[in-house]
């Protein structure tokens, strides 16, 4: 049975080692369609899967580059840090956790507050950073956003907040909770002054962030597939003791139930916001 005998000698492992092309890091798997995609293609496509249109999470800096002209902005209050009002200690003091986060992200807290131009129009913009303790809202985040609202009001420049957050920051207790009221009250002033506020909800936006500023935009828009809700899916599953249906609390679900103005693809986000601001404020001269 010559069919089964090898006609060529087996390849030497050493030889194969030399011939192998290093592909590590060049490819990645889409979290949604499970297909292998070329990382470069993903980057060129704004971190959106070229095969299934799944929107990968992006960090705050990448978001700012995407939305602002020439990828340039001026940052505010970047040195504001929490002073740990509760002196919160669990397995590890909150102060240490903060320091480690600051080291890892080179941010001082979970938001970047900036001003820049969006298709030539000056805007105030805040982008939450999910990597920093889940984008959670404590005293610093509340204060930075409130100050951004005040700048927006003083200069009559439209406000954009891009949310990505698990909600209020547990480690700052009721202080975090009251930030919801503080920011919402500031938005009341912006609302009455008729300065536009566009809330962009990205994956995921839940808890105290959704239940305050993220739902208070003149327009509330979201990226496709973003998880948006008050209670997180795990908490709801524990309450009702059954699995949640596919697509529950996703952006499309909220659109269907009337809580979003639009679901906007990442590629269309900047032009969409620009058109909205043209509508609200008139074209830029």
């Amino acid at each position: 049975m010559a069919w089964f005998t090898r006609s060529k000698p087996t390849r030497q492992p050493a030889a194969e080692e030399e011939r192998r092309v290093r592909t590590e890091g060049l490819w990645t798997k889409c979290d949604h369609c499970r297909q292998i995609i070329w990382r470069k293609a993903l980057e060129d496509n704004l971190q959106v899967c070229p095969k299934c249109d799944f929107h990968f999470k992006i960090d705050a800096v990448t978001r700012l580059r995407l939305l602002l002209d020439d990828g340039r902005w001026e940052e505010y209050d970047s040195d504001l840090v929490s002073t740990d009002p509760l002196e919160f200690v669990d397995q590890r003091p909150y102060k240490e956790r903060l320091a480690a986060m600051q080291q890892a992200t080179s941010l001082k807290d979970a938001v970047i507050a900036a001003s820049g131009r969006l298709q030539s129009r000056p805007v105030q913009i805040c982008v939450l950073e999910l990597k920093f303790i889940g984008g959670s809202m404590g005293a610093v985040l509340g204060e930075k956003i409130t100050r951004a609202i005040e700048r927006s009001l003083a200069r009559r420049e439209p406000l954009i907040i891009v949310s990505a957050s698990g909600g209020a920051r547990m480690q700052e207790g009721a202080v975090s909770l009251m930030q919801m009221a503080k920011v919402s009250a500031a938005l009341m002033r912006l609302d009455q002054a008729r300065v536009p506020f566009i809330s962009v909800l990205t994956d995921p936006t839940t808890g105290g962030v959704t239940a305050s500023f993220a739902m208070l935009g003149d327009l509330n828009i979201a990226e496709p597939g973003a998880l948006i809700g008050f209670a997180g899916p795990r908490v709801i599953e524990q309450t009702i003791r059954q699995k949640l249906p596919e697509g529950f609390q996703r952006a499309e679900f909220l659109l269907q139930h009337g809580f979003l103005d639009a679901v906007v693809r990442r590629h269309d986000m900047k032009p969409f916001i620009a058109r909205a601001l043209d509508f609200f404020c008139g074209p830029v001269h």
Binding site: T83, E172, V175
Partner: protein, 282 residues
């Protein structure tokens, strides 16, 4: 780096307060309403979807003065608890609350809100009808209400669910009430992956009335009868009456703009717990 160790004055104290705040015999919103706002006519429904029994709202008369009352309501026995959904409001509850507050504003009547909830209801229907949107809208609209708002946390101040009717010109807590961003059980489940560590979490969260006063988040603490409000509901109501009378009369002298401004500035300064650092990580 300065090492911080929690002072934790009395470790078990916070947990004891949690137990008192949830005591099965503790007076609920209607117990106070019946004693302080006579007569009282309940108003139902949000004009959109339905009526939420977890929030009671209505027209009351406090010592002859017309006052709108909004409170989160828990049940006493099992049947009542189910009817009141354990005091966990749904979006229609928050929308009813706002409707009644706006009604009060239209006719220049002050508003008293009573907080007592484990939290806003975390269920499928509540999400479908926009729980987050309902709470967010209340926070913004209450900030603009042109009449006095006096808020008292009478039991459990369960996070955003409580705050959703809690943006007042004056905010008080009963001596044994708690007010927190998360329940001690959930906090323990997240941090220690063990809900049994709730006692530790309760202390870490600084959720007692004394803690909130120290953090500058409330205006005052209302004493309770010895042993707690459940020992003497009438006495507890009378102690609440004194504070309400004083707060309402103080606020009665303010114009609409002053009320809105005072409320705004009060919340604006909450949580001044940050510092400017110059470069480098802290």
């Amino acid at each position: 780096m300065d090492k911080v160790t929690a002072p934790a004055p009395e470790p078990g104290e916070a947990w004891q307060r949690v137990q008192l705040a949830r005591h099965p015999k503790r007076p609920h919103a209607l117990d106070y309403i019946q004693r302080l706002f006579t007569p009282f006519e309940e108003l139902h429904g949000d004009r959109c979807f339905g009526d939420d029994p977890a929030i009671v709202a209505g027209m009351g008369f406090f010592e002859g003065m017309p006052v709108a009352v909004v409170g989160q309501q828990k049940g006493r026995d099992t049947k009542q608890k189910l009817y009141r959904n354990f005091g966990m409001p749904k979006p229609e509850g928050y929308r009813k609350a706002l409707r009644v507050m706006k009604l009060a504003a239209k006719f220049g009547r002050p508003v008293v809100t009573l907080l007592d909830t484990p939290g806003a209801y975390p269920g499928v229907d509540a999400e479908e009808r926009g729980q987050a949107e309902a709470i967010a809208r209340n926070l913004r609209e209450m900030a603009a209400l042109p009449v006095p708002i006096v808020t008292v946390c009478i039991g459990e101040g369960g996070s955003g669910g409580a705050l959703g009717i809690g943006v007042g010109n004056r905010v008080y807590m009963l001596e044994n009430a708690i007010y927190s961003v998360i329940s001690p059980e959930s906090c323990a489940a997240i941090i220690w992956r063990d809900a049994g560590k709730a006692e530790l979490a309760a202390a870490a969260l600084r959720l007692t009335a004394q803690d909130l006063l120290r953090l500058g988040l409330i205006d005052g603490i209302i004493a309770e009868p010895p042993g707690g409000a459940h020992n003497d509901p009438d006495g507890a109501a009378e102690l609440l009456r004194v504070t309400l009378r004083q707060a309402l009369s103080e606020l009665a002298g303010l114009e609409s703009e002053e009320l809105i401004e005072q409320r705004y500035l009060k919340f604006r300064q909450m949580g001044n717990f940050f510092a400017e650092t110059a470069g480098g990580s802290a």
